[in-house]
């Protein structure tokens, strides 16, 4: 009967999803447990910082610049109606520091660095490099996963901060240099409205949480990928889709906790 089959399918998928969440959680704690040895071999983290952080720099900086420029342009068009163009700096800075910086940087990070991590680990597994390590009594989580995890956590807040800073200058360029909003009020209103602890530090906390989520999803998908070409490609797709959704959901929760109801 097709109806029973459909219900059975839903149940199967749900159980499978819960199973994978449990595995991912166990994987997360395993990674934390094996982190100590990766800090003793810090050059591994440095190497991963290069491939996740440094290689994401260009996309983050260019995207930040354009997002800031668009914010400047759109903000000006709307604020002009109420005669408050001088609040453009506030709008650009708060929008970037609170939301767009952490979220867009994390989305870009997931598709630029997260997918690469998944594909790399998945391919290592498919070519049996991970089994070879186990044979040599090297724990693959300590050697492969933990350094990438910490590199992701370290680089994400830095990338988000860069994104916001470059974005503010993009907004400045469009608003002040091109359109001609008063430079003094652009900066002074921004400084009066943006609070270091409430806005900037909360943005840093957000990007830290996103970095953790994206990195652990990417590493888990790679580590769990079926060792075939198809399996690796499917895992890479799942990394980008899942981490994008998780970023947006976490962002809502964090925003509600930080800025809601005050």
């Amino acid at each position: 009967m097709p109806a029973v089959k459909a219900i059975r399918g839903i149940g199967h998928r749900t159980i499978n999803a819960v199973w994978r969440i449990g595995m991912a959680t166990r994987f997360f704690f395993l990674t934390l447990m094996h982190s100590g040895s990766s800090f003793r071999r810090f050059h591994l983290i440095i190497k991963e910082l290069f491939s996740t952080g440094v290689m994401s720099l260009i996309i983050i900086v260019v995207a930040g610049l354009f997002v800031g420029m668009v914010l400047g342009l759109q903000g000006y068009e709307t604020l002009k109606r109420y005669g408050s163009e001088s609040a453009l700096g506030v709008m650009v800075a708060l929008g970037l520091v609170r939301e767009l910086g952490p979220v867009v940087a994390a989305l870009l990070f997931a598709s630029r660095a997260g997918s690469a991590m998944t594909a790399e680990i998945g391919l290592m597994k498919a070519t049996e490099q991970i089994s070879a390590m186990e044979m040599m009594a090297v724990h693959p989580i300590a050697r492969i996963v933990a350094p990438r995890f910490w590199a992701g956590i370290i680089s994400m807040p830095l990338l988000a901060a860069l994104f916001s800073a470059v974005g503010v200058f993009g907004g400045y360029f469009v608003g002040v240099v091109q359109i001609g909003v008063d430079e003094g009020s652009f900066w002074s209103q921004m400084q009066a409205a943006v609070d270091f602890e409430h806005d900037i530090m909360n943005g840093v906390i957000k990007s830290f949480v996103f970095g953790t989520a994206v990195t652990i999803i990417a590493l888990f998908e790679g580590y769990d990928a079926p060792p075939t070409a198809e399996g690796v490609s499917g895992a890479t797709t799942r990394t980008v889709v899942t981490s994008s959704l998780v970023i947006l959901m976490l962002d809502f929760i964090l925003t509600a906790m930080m800025f809601g109801g005050s």
């Binding site: 440095i46 910082l49 800073a165 400084q191 943006v194 609070d195």
Partner: protein, 154 residues
């Protein structure tokens, strides 16, 4: 440990990220704008503070001279007690008037200090005697309606 090209790139990345954070804190945020490090505190009572918040600015002649330290309700007088930190560089006479003002039509509220003529200056822990409360829109409308009703009908 030998140096590699990767170390240089990672170093540059970390420096750029930290520089961006510092830039955000100093140029975008309020950390670099005003730091009341060397300050003395005075307090004042207001019958209504409106929307005044802690860390609101205190200005005299439009110049930022301090920040609001704390706001509490004094249950002896049922008035709001506002503690202000004022920069040591600025001294105010004893008969200074403190007013709660609004920057722009819909802007933030701040405290404006109008210096008086007395020669003695306020010291740490002393009180501003003369204050003017915040304008509350409902009160203003009420006053306006009351004065309209008092006018003889034409």
């Amino acid at each position: 440990m030998e140096r590699t090209g990767i170390d240089l790139w990672v170093g540059m990345f970390v420096v750029a990220g930290v520089a961006a954070l510092v830039m955000l804190a100093m140029k975008v945020g309020n950390l670099g704008t005003y730091n009341v490090s060397d300050a003395y505190q005075i307090h004042a009572y207001f019958t209504n503070i409106g929307g005044l918040k802690t860390t609101a600015s205190i200005k005299s002649a439009g110049v930022l001279v301090g920040r609001v330290e704390s706001i509490s309700l004094d249950t002896q007088r049922y008035e709001a007690k506002v503690v202000m930190s004022i920069d040591k560089r600025y001294q105010f006479s004893k008969d200074t008037i403190g007013k709660i003002l609004t920057s722009g039509l819909l802007g933030e509220q701040y405290i404006g200090l109008d210096a008086g003529g007395e020669t003695e200056v306020l010291k740490h822990g002393e009180q501003l005697k003369k204050t003017q409360s915040a304008m509350v829109l409902e009160d203003l409308i009420g006053k306006f309606l009351y004065s309209k009703a008092e006018e003889p009908a034409k």
